[in-house]
């Protein structure tokens, strides 16, 4: 009976961890990157962050809807000097992509043009989407996003809206300084 319980627990633990990708293979690029963003958020951190999101703010409201089912968020984004010595090769993605060879991962999108590669994969448990992996690599930039617990494609559309907000914010002219 104990052995059966242990086996069940191991299966459950295995399923929980299966959506999370080990991103350690990217550590070698962190030190060489011109700029980097690294985010590791487990479920408790996501929930804690969600409590502080303001529903009245447009961008935060969009995030609040997206993160309702989120159980983990792991991101690595590195930018390199394209003329520098550190060259990111698509082969460097192999340790990441090897982890999604299991039957629970299905490719949603794969695009490879010249030295640019974009892949979106979904993790499914009992046919239900419960994880996402986005890989975007181009010369001078690599971004890997692993969202655990993403259940609906609609969640992603609101993230797309968030991207729009970010772009609009970038396009906005800098506020004039009265001192000038």
């Amino acid at each position: 009976m104990r052995k059966l319980m242990l086996a069940v627990w191991m299966m459950v633990a295995g399923t929980c961890l299966a959506q999370q990708i080990d991103l350690k293979s990217l550590d070698q690029f962190a030190a060489k990157a011109k700029s980097k963003t690294e985010i590791n958020m487990d479920e408790s951190m996501v929930k804690s962050a969600a409590q502080f999101l303001n529903q009245d703010k447009k961008d935060e409201a969009a995030v609040k809807n997206s993160v309702q089912s989120l159980k983990g968020f792991f991101l690595r984004s590195y930018e390199f000097d394209t003329n520098g010595p550190t060259k990111f090769r698509l082969e460097d993605l192999k340790p990441i992509l090897d982890q999604i060879k299991g039957p629970n991962w299905t490719s949603f999108l794969r695009s490879q043009e010249d030295d640019e590669q974009t892949e979106i994969w979904f993790h499914r448990t009992n046919g239900q989407i419960d994880g996402l992996l986005l890989v975007s690599a181009e010369p001078g930039e690599i971004t890997i996003i692993n969202a655990v617990g993403v259940t609906k494609l609609e969640d992603l559309s609101s993230l797309g809206e968030l991207g729009k907000f970010a772009e609009q914010a970038q396009k906005k002219p800098a506020p004039k300084n009265d001192d000038n």
């Binding site: 963003t37 985010i39 958020m41 951190m45 996501v46 804690s48 962050a49 969600a50 409590q51 502080f52 999101l53 961008d59 935060e60 995030v63 997206s66 993160v67 968020f73 991101l75 984004s77 999108l109 695009s111 974009t118 979106i120 986005l134 975007s136 971004t143 996003i145 969202a147 992603l156 993230l159 797309g160 809206e161 968030l162 991207g163 729009k164 907000f165 970010a166 772009e167």
Partner: protein, 70 residues
């Protein structure tokens, strides 16, 4: 004497509570900022993908139109 000691203990418990709440709020705000940055990057990457797909679609359409005119 006992009253003063009790008041001091209450004050200390209250103080610890306030500090803990402040720490919780600071951690929550930091986590929120981190999450917002992460999801902004995700959103922007998804838009990039969408634009790339549209460009591919347009190229395919253009090619088929060119074939038809030939």
């Amino acid at each position: 004497m006992w009253l003063a000691a009790a008041a001091l203990v209450l004050l200390m418990i209250g103080g610890i509570g306030v500090v803990q709440e402040q720490r919780r709020q600071a951690e929550g705000e930091r986590a929120k900022k981190e999450l917002m940055v992460g999801l902004r990057i995700t959103g922007s990457k998804l838009r990039d993908v969408q634009e790339r797909l549209l460009a591919i679609q347009q190229r395919v359409l253009q090619r088929s139109e060119n074939k038809e005119t030939q």
